[in-house]
């Protein structure tokens, strides 16, 4: 049996079966161990897949032996491989982090199922990223969403329950819109395979049904991606969920939604239809800009730092959408780069906050007073993440912002380029608030420097240092992004 050949399906099947296995064994420490081992396998597999894609451009895997469009096909191109890498790496770091974090935040009787749900989310998101069948995207979207609702609701604050419910309603509406869109496309073409659809669509592109389908899919995906004004579920969902959950979601979930958007807009509909015939490019730029400004401004006013970062994520999605809306090669490259870098940034920031929560059971700003002295390593990591978020040179965040500004200037959109810089200043303000409280406010009575679990600290610092590494050496991130963009734009009709 040639393992390499089957990697595409194994990266989905292994985490799924691992989740089932965990339930079967019902052992707490075993559950964590299986999760960790699965994540290690996923990282190994994603690296292998990237190398293979580098050689053959696209890996195609025919499930069940039935050729598409009869059967379901998995297709891994550079973009998919990049997504898998982000997912796998986040999964691994979060697994390491989870050992102590879950112990602290989740009641013991729920640990086993917690890890099951986590594996199901990971598998679901990977499944979305590698499939070439439109309906299959819907199925795996719901796999990841259902487990996400459960995970979010495990937060200690009762508002986690309400946040999860709100996300369930909005998320299901979004998924149903996507289903409607797929249905409309199917009616006009008779197929569900993305490649096949891409070939058949131009013949029927000028029909109401296809235009409506496009609208429904983009709105449905927009809800999942927290595109403004459909973002309302995100702040509370991120703020009140357990630290492991918010870290993993912030690093991955919305990005996979954006991936789906890119896949539909570029691979399926094609750049000609989506961004020229339909005024989608302008719409994306407008909504992206609103997201950037709205998210950043709301972030400034939050007293709960986790909520602040959640709004910040809305802003960052805005950057990515704006970049896509430019409909240019530098624009797409900037978008993909930021998808990668932002995972590193938010991973760092949320993990740092998770450590704060570990000690103080709260992520309110006031609780972080003097934390520069009582939790120096944590704050240092937070600061690195914060600088990356602002876009200080030497960090990963700077690289994506740089590419975005270049792309904007390339399109002669001076005002928007200026806006991006203004947004960086806004980011400076809210990150600055945290830094000010941590380093320049007095330490409360009786608090001393305490040890925090090594596993959590190690995971945090791997994230933090990767911000610096990928800020200085962009060969991997930028290389992959460029390759993906070439494939996407070259492939479309």
């Amino acid at each position: 049996m040639d393992l390499m050949m089957h990697l595409p399906v194994l990266i989905v099947v292994v985490p799924l079966l691992a989740g089932a296995l965990i339930v079967l064994l019902n052992h707490r420490k075993g559950a964590w161990l299986i999760t960790l081992l699965t994540s290690i396998f996923l990282v190994y597999a994603s690296v292998q897949l990237i190398q293979m894609v580098g050689q053959v451009d696209v890996i195609s895997y025919t499930l069940g032996g039935w050729k598409a469009p009869l059967g379901i096909e998995l297709r891994i191109d550079a973009l998919s491989a990049l997504m898998v890498l982000i997912l796998a790496a986040s999964a691994l770091l979060v697994s390491i982090y989870a050992l102590k974090s879950v112990e602290k935040e989740i009641p013991e009787q729920n640990h086993v199922l917690f890890y099951t749900a986590l594996l199901l989310v990971i598998a679901g998101l990977i499944g979305i990223s590698i499939t070439a069948d439109a309906f299959n995207i819907f199925v795996f979207l719901e796999i990841s969403s259902l487990s996400t609702y459960a995970l979010i609701s495990m937060g200690r604050d009762r508002r986690a329950l309400h946040a999860s419910y709100h996300y369930l309603i909005m998320g299901t509406i979004g998924a149903t819109f996507i289903l409607i869109g797929i249905g409309f496309m199917y009616v006009m073409t008779g197929t569900l395979n993305i490649e096949d659809l891409a070939q058949r669509l131009p013949a029927v592109a000028d029909t109401n049904a296809i235009r409506a389908a496009f609208a429904f899919i983009t709105i449905g995906v927009g809800i999942k991606a927290a595109m403004m004004p459909l973002h309302q579920w995100l702040p509370n969902a991120y703020a009140y969920s357990p630290s492991v959950v918010s870290t993993f979601l912030a690093a991955t979930a919305t990005k996979v939604a954006v991936y789906v958007l890119i896949r539909f807009v570029l691979s399926l509909y094609g750049i000609e239809f989506s961004l020229v015939q339909m005024p989608f490019d302008n719409l994306l730029m407008i909504l992206g800009t609103i997201g950037i400004l709205g998210g950043s401004v709301y972030a400034i006013y939050q007293s709960n730092v986790k909520r602040m970062l959640a709004y910040s994520s809305v802003a960052q999605i805005g950057y990515i959408l704006l970049a896509i809306g430019l409909a240019s090669q530098p624009g797409f490259t900037a978008a993909l780069l930021h998808m990668f870098n932002h995972a590193l940034i938010k991973g760092t920031l949320f993990m740092a906050l998770g450590l704060v929560f570990f000690r103080f059971a709260s992520t309110e700003l006031s609780v972080m007073s003097g934390m520069g002295k009582t939790m120096p390593l944590t704050m240092a990591a937070f600061t690195i993440g914060g600088l990356s978020l602002i876009g200080v040179p030497g960090t990963a965040g700077f690289v994506s912002k740089w590419y975005l500004v270049i792309a904007l200037l390339d399109a002669s959109l001076w005002p928007l380029a200026l806006l991006v810089l203004v947004a960086s200043i806004l980011t400076l303000i809210y990150i600055g608030r945290v830094i000010e409280v941590a380093y320049f406010r007095p330490v409360p009575e009786g608090r001393t420097r305490q040890k925090v679990p090594l596993t959590m600290m190690v995971a945090l610092w791997i994230f933090a240092l990767s911000n610096i590494y990928f800020g200085l050496d962009t060969e991997i991130s930028q290389g992959m992004a460029s390759l993906a963009v070439n494939q996407l734009i070259g492939v479309t009709p």
């Binding site: 009762r158 419910y165 199917y186 709260s362």
Partner: protein, 126 residues
């Protein structure tokens, strides 16, 4: 008459979808919202099944009596979608039960007010 009826199904389905969506957004009661969501989803299912129908066709089970079958693919897709729907409804109802226990209410507006008043130290009852 027949021409009018050709699109009848689709029209009614759209009306059902609109009503379902209306219930979801307009209701403040959490259970009713969920019911509206289910209605919305089932309407989409009817849409899919409608365009799978072939006139003078029969169910896609191969027999010797006929050669014309309705399209099996929408049936397969909707079978999956129904399962997804019931899964979502189950999780939604479980959340509602927990919300009732934690907030004492399943009315969106009342819960919203309580959220606003919440201090960050409130722990939910497990």
């Amino acid at each position: 008459m027949h021409e009018l009826l050709e699109h009848y199904n689709y029209w009614i389905v759209v009306i059902l979808m609109m009503m379902g969506l209306y219930i979801v957004i307009a209701s403040s009661n959490l259970v009713k919202k969920l019911i509206g969501l289910s209605v919305f989803q089932v309407s989409v299912f009817i849409l899919y099944i409608t365009f799978g129908k072939v006139t003078e066709g029969s169910p896609p089970i191969i027999t010797d009596n006929t050669d014309v079958y309705s399209n099996p693919l929408p049936h397969v897709l909707i079978l999956t979608a129904i399962v997804v729907g019931v899964a979502t409804t189950s999780v939604g109802l479980a959340l509602i039960v927990r919300i009732q226990e934690a907030y004492g209410s399943i009315d969106e507006d009342e819960i919203h007010d309580m959220d606003d008043k919440d201090d960050f130290h409130i722990e939910k009852q497990v």
